[in-house]
């Protein structure tokens, strides 16, 4: 799978940087090892500059001590006065950097002291001298050219200047000047050390920089992975929109059918385990050139490389994936169950302008799969372009286009306003989208819960801003056992006297869990209403156990009571049942006075419908709420 190396594959510059660093590393090592060579060169260069002045002076001194003597050595050996005078002349060369200054003469290739300016450790005339660096001395004698010897082995000496004293073409003696470890040496050492540290610093800095860059990129890269499932996530895709060459792939968007129930029934942790299992099944069908991205909770984007598969092979692959998931058995505790996936695919990506368009089309095809019964594969074709993209729907839900319209529920006798029912709408420009266009697409997906949360938050905000308004909101049985929604209601329990919960009852649920949730809500002070009464909760026993406050009779029955005997009987019976059990009845879809009159005779107290008012935006409500 490409995923493992996608960081480096998509950031090839780091390969080059690493290579550059390795080259730099070896260059620095090479320089460091040869630093001795550079040290010598540097030292000689500095020495030449330092000695320059002494060199020219010493040449004059030598000329002076030689005088017109025929035999310089004999004269000095024989005559102590001559030696003393010459030593005085020599001492003119002396300075604080010079440790020793002396003249040697040569006899049978051996050296003996002739003159010595050192007063404390004055050498005796004729005293032999064996130099450490005898070869250098010998070369000065033979070549009659000065030499500078760097003293690495003699303590306290930095270097020695050896100059030949030549008389009648013969080297008769050597002027030797030993320089002590001084400022120059210190400077040399410091310079060399500085150079060493500089090289090291360059290496360390570059390495640190490299580590920092790679680490920060890798940290960001880790953001691209979903920690639960270890797959690339949507953030990666959003950040790399321009880098993904979608034209090289067939695209499929796969969604696990009814996955929300797994989380609701078994909790998020177990849900994640199931998710990972499904991902592994899908992974096993892909190869290295393909890409797999977790687009949302239970939605996955598959980029199938066109290099490795033909169109038919791609179709076969999707079918294989679908069948593999369908046949898999998942286990949580003692429960075994199976899942299915719906897939929407796009084959011709080469004509698309952007990845976003590609995903939208795959999403539309997925929508078709869902609507055709799930556990199927649909391929996008041009006829689907007008349908609502789920992706677009997601954007709308998350924007301020999601609003509620409010329809009044009134007392049938007094016409007094009891509360408003909040009804979901999406305002898309001049277009207002109704729930029946939205909810079927979202049912059993994570978006449904997300949408519910948005509606709850929207209405809580209205209740906070408007202290007079009283609202009912619609929640499904699944919403009631959703921790985040319950938590929101609990946190806003101070509004419970103005927020009525209408429970939609249209599929089988775990009664015990719903009962528990209702009990919790009632403890917080909320009033409960069963909406669309007539299906699902038809077990009256359960109705009693739920301890509801209101019951809203299904509007389709109410509409018929003034001309349908059966509808008339049903409503009458329900009204009587509710009256006997202290449950208030709300009749909806009231569209004429005859219906109102009949309902009054049944003892129905509240009504809702176009007879009273349509649902309108909050801004159009009477501010006094009368």
């Amino acid at each position: 799978m490409q995923n493992k190396f996608i960081f480096f594959n998509n950031n090839k510059i780091y390969y080059y940087v690493v290579v550059a660093y390795i080259v730099l590393f070896f260059l620095v090592i090479f320089s460091y090892q040869n630093i001795g060579f550079y040290k010598v060169k540097l030292k000689n260069s500095l020495l030449n500059k330092t000695i320059g002045m002494v060199d020219s002076t010493s040449t004059n001194i030598i000329k002076k001590i030689l005088k017109d003597d025929d035999n310089f050595v004999r004269s000095n050996l024989k005559n102590i006065k001559v030696r003393e005078d010459n030593e005085k002349i020599l001492s003119l060369l002396n300075n604080q950097d010079i440790q020793s200054l002396y003249v040697l003469f040569i006899d049978e290739n051996r050296y003996f002291f002739l003159l010595d300016v050192d007063e404390e450790n004055h050498s005796e005339v004729n005293e032999p001298f064996i130099p450490e660096d005898s070869e250098a001395f010998a070369r000065v004698v033979s070549e009659q050219k000065k030499r500078i010897v760097v003293q690495d082995k003699i303590n306290n000496l930095s270097f020695t200047l050896i100059k030949p004293i030549v008389q009648n073409g013969i080297t008769v003696g050597l002027l030797v000047i030993d320089y002590s470890e001084n400022r120059l040496s210190s400077l040399l050492n410091v310079s060399v050390q500085f150079l060493s540290y500089l090289l090291l610093a360059v290496l360390v800095l570059f390495f640190s920089f490299l580590c920092y860059v790679i680490y920060s990129r890798y940290s960001k890269y880790k953001v691209y992975y979903d920690p639960r499932t270890n797959t690339l996530n949507r953030i990666y895709m959003t950040d790399n929109y321009d880098k993904i060459d979608f034209k090289k792939y067939y695209i499929a968007l796969a969604d696990i059918d009814l996955f929300k129930r797994i989380n609701n029934l078994y909790g998020q942790k177990n849900g994640d385990k199931v998710l990972v299992s499904v991902i592994n099944i899908m992974y096993s069908h892909l190869d290295k050139k393909d890409m797999f991205i977790q687009y949302s909770g239970e939605e996955f984007l598959l980029f199938i490389s066109k290099n490795s598969r033909t169109e038919q092979q791609f179709r076969n692959l999707l079918e294989d994936i679908r069948i593999s998931v369908e046949r898999a058995i998942f286990t949580i505790g003692s429960d075994k169950f199976s899942l299915t996936i719906s897939i929407g695919a796009l084959l011709n990506t080469t004509i698309e302008k952007s990845l976003q368009d590609v995903i939208h089309k795959a999403d539309t095809a997925l929508y078709e799969s869902k609507h055709s019964g799930r556990n199927s594969i649909s391929y996008f074709d041009i006829s689907q372009t007008k349908k609502l993209y789920r992706e677009k729907l997601k954007e709308m839900i998350e924007s301020d286009k999601l609003v509620c319209y409010y329809q009044a529920i009134r007392n049938l006798e007094t016409k007094e306003l009891h509360h408003y029912e909040a009804l979901l709408r999406i305002e898309d420009g001049d277009n207002v989208i109704f729930p029946d266009k939205i909810l079927p697409d979202l049912e059993d997906s994570y978006l449904y819960t997300h949408l519910t949360k948005r509606v709850v938050d929207y209405n809580i905000e209205k209740l906070r801003k408007d202290s007079k308004i009283k609202i009912s909101i619609n929640l499904s049985a699944d919403d009631l056992i959703n921790d985040s929604i319950l938590s929101t209601l609990a946190q806003n329990a101070d509004l419970s006297n103005r927020l009525l919960i209408e429970i939609l009852e249209n599929k089988s649920i775990d009664y015990k869990k719903v009962e528990l949730s209702i009990q919790k809500l009632k403890l917080f002070g909320y009033k409960i209403c069963i909406d669309d009464f007539g299906s699902g909760y038809s077990n009256l026993n359960h109705l009693l156990n739920l301890s509801i406050d209101y019951l809203k009779i299904d509007g389709s029955i109410i509409k018929e009571i003034h001309h349908d005997k059966r509808a008339y009987s049903i409503v009458k019976t329900f009204a009587l049942f509710c009256k006997q059990n202290d449950i208030e009845v709300i009749a909806e879809f009231i569209d004429n006075q005859d219906v109102v009159n009949i309902l009054k005779t049944f003892g129905v107290k509240y009504g809702q419908g176009w007879y009273f008012s349509k649902a309108v935006p909050y801004a159009e409500l009477d501010k006094e709420h009368k």
Binding site: S100, D107, E108, R110, S123, N126, E127, K153
Partner: protein, 140 residues
């Protein structure tokens, strides 16, 4: 003998931590003799390692770093001056201008049945060369 030992201990000891010990050891090891040479180190401050055979003052053939003229044995002194003055000394080892000076007098080595290989010729001087007058006579 004990008294001699005490005297020797009092004798000024040549202190030099900067002698090239390796050079010194190497030279002393190459002194050739008809019998094995045993040394006594009169200096506490110069550690010649254990490459040489060391023994007591009584049993030693060569006394190292002692300027005591009264010792009748072969000595290696620690100054040029002592070398000139002490006829029993066969050589001198000391520091001069920061350099380790190793000097043996060839005539004295021969007199004592000792020699050094030719590769150590740079350390050998003649009796004349340490005599200023003799040296002056030879200088042209």
């Amino acid at each position: 003998m004990k008294k001699l030992l005490y005297i020797l201990l009092i004798v000024p000891i040549f202190v030099s931590a900067e002698l090239n010990i390796e050079k010194v050891n190497n030279t002393l090891l190459h002194i050739k003799s008809s019998q094995p040479l045993k040394f006594f180190n009169a200096s506490k401050h110069i550690d010649l390692k254990n490459k040489l055979k060391f023994t007591t003052l009584k049993n030693a053939n060569i006394i190292l770093f002692s300027n005591n003229k009264n010792i009748k044995k072969m000595t290696i002194v620690n100054s040029y001056r002592a070398l000139q003055m002490n006829k029993n000394s066969i050589g001198a080892i000391y520091l001069k201008k920061g350099r380790t000076q190793i000097i043996f007098i060839n005539d004295r080595l021969k007199r004592n049945g000792l020699s050094l290989p030719s590769s150590f010729n740079k350390y050998l001087l003649s009796e004349c060369q340490i005599n200023p007058i003799c040296l002056l006579t030879n200088i042209k």
